[in-house]
Subunit: 205 residues, 2 copies
DNA sequence: TAGATTGTTAATCGATTAACAATC
DNA sequence: TAGATTGTTAATCGATTAACAATC
């Protein structure tokens, strides 16, 4: 069902969702034109993207905002329940563990792992930090399909390999290195420093 | 000089740089083919991307690794010196302030701002946290052209407006909301929760 | 020289936009 | 009805890939 949407369209769905949720409660209808204007994009593109979900607009009035939000949430799996684990309870790991925004998407980070014995056994934002060796059993027990990697670059690949072996199906990688996995596993990469560097590069043009 | 590179190519340059830096010191030459194989992409694309920099390969041998790294670093401004400020010293803000990876790109976060009086006056990773009201004078004094927004979504737009008024030219926004600015200002958006949600969506396909 | 690899031009592919018929 | 907006098909645009000449 989610198979044929281009990733580039999929990436825009949360943007629409955020925009719609931020709208005044009084607004009942939204048109692709108004969304496009607010988000600085073409209105046909908005309609095409929305068409991947179950959203249906009505000529002359547009989309019912609540229905559109529901369609996007449904498509993105916000009403489901998926568990994620996090590896690397450093500053960034702690921030991600403390972040409350995942629940909007039906995702919960249920456990963390760290190789530092000092951290093992502690709790961060109510989530237990376990030793790396416990990963296999915990991931299995908690049925976690998602994982977030917040370890230093040099460990990212081995951590990814371990996670995949434990049954993780998708990885969000914050380490500044490209990790390779079995092609069935989906990986996304967020390199914070590189993002700032890209911005910096765009300044001189 | 950096004007005519497509953003999509620019985004790949740090990926090449990370890969090359991670290579064994003994490797003197690298070919576009070997980079492409390691990074799972087409070799012509690699050569095209690298051609935007001052890198020059030699037929039959490839690129001199050290020269290629230097060309990428030069293009990305890693040898320059740019200052950034951060707004919102919550968990994520702290993590970004503590992150050491920016210096590889010639970027330093020089100050933070927060509206919480409890945080004002403290130091995080050696960086002073100032009151929001000091932003204008500090940004000017420190000559900061880059800014990172780590405040809750509902404040992101006003913070962005304030930053732009203070002379900030580029913004990295972690708040889950699209911010609008004068078109001269460049903005990049990192929505961590959305990224995990996208991964989750890709699982069911 | 022979052959591997670069750099470039042409072809292809995919995403965005334009045009327009359908419709409430 | 008239007109605004959707949904879809065709055209355009831009990025990737294929082909190939240049070259060390």
């Amino acid at each position: 069902m989610n198979k044929d949407i281009p990733v580039i369209s999929l990436q825009r769905l949360p943007v629409y969702l955020n925009y719609l949720k931020g709208l005044n409660d009084g607004e009942v209808y939204v048109s692709s034109g108004s969304i496009a204007a607010a988000l600085d994009m073409g209105e046909v593109l908005v309609r095409k993207d929305l068409a991947y979900t179950s959203a249906a607009g009505r000529p002359r009035v547009g989309y019912v905002k609540s229905e559109l939000i529901a369609a996007l949430e449904d498509y993105l799996g916000c009403n489901g329940k998926r568990s994620a684990v996090l590896v690397g309870a450093g500053a960034l790991g702690k921030a991600v563990l403390s972040y409350g925004g995942f629940k909007n998407y039906g995702i919960e980070i249920v456990a963390a792992f760290d190789s530092d014995p000092e951290k093992v056994g502690t709790e961060i934002a109510g989530k237990k930090v376990h030793a790396m060796g416990e990963a296999a059993s915990k991931i299995n027990e908690l049925n976690a399909e998602l994982a977030v990697i917040c370890v230093p670059a040099q460990y990212a690949q081995e951590v990814a390999d371990m996670l995949v072996k434990c049954g993780v199906k998708a990885i969000l990688n914050f380490a500044p290195v490209l990790i390779k996995t079995d092609e069935k596993v989906v990986v996304r990469h967020i390199d914070v420093a590189a993002n700032l560097a890209i911005l910096s590069s765009m300044l001189e043009g």
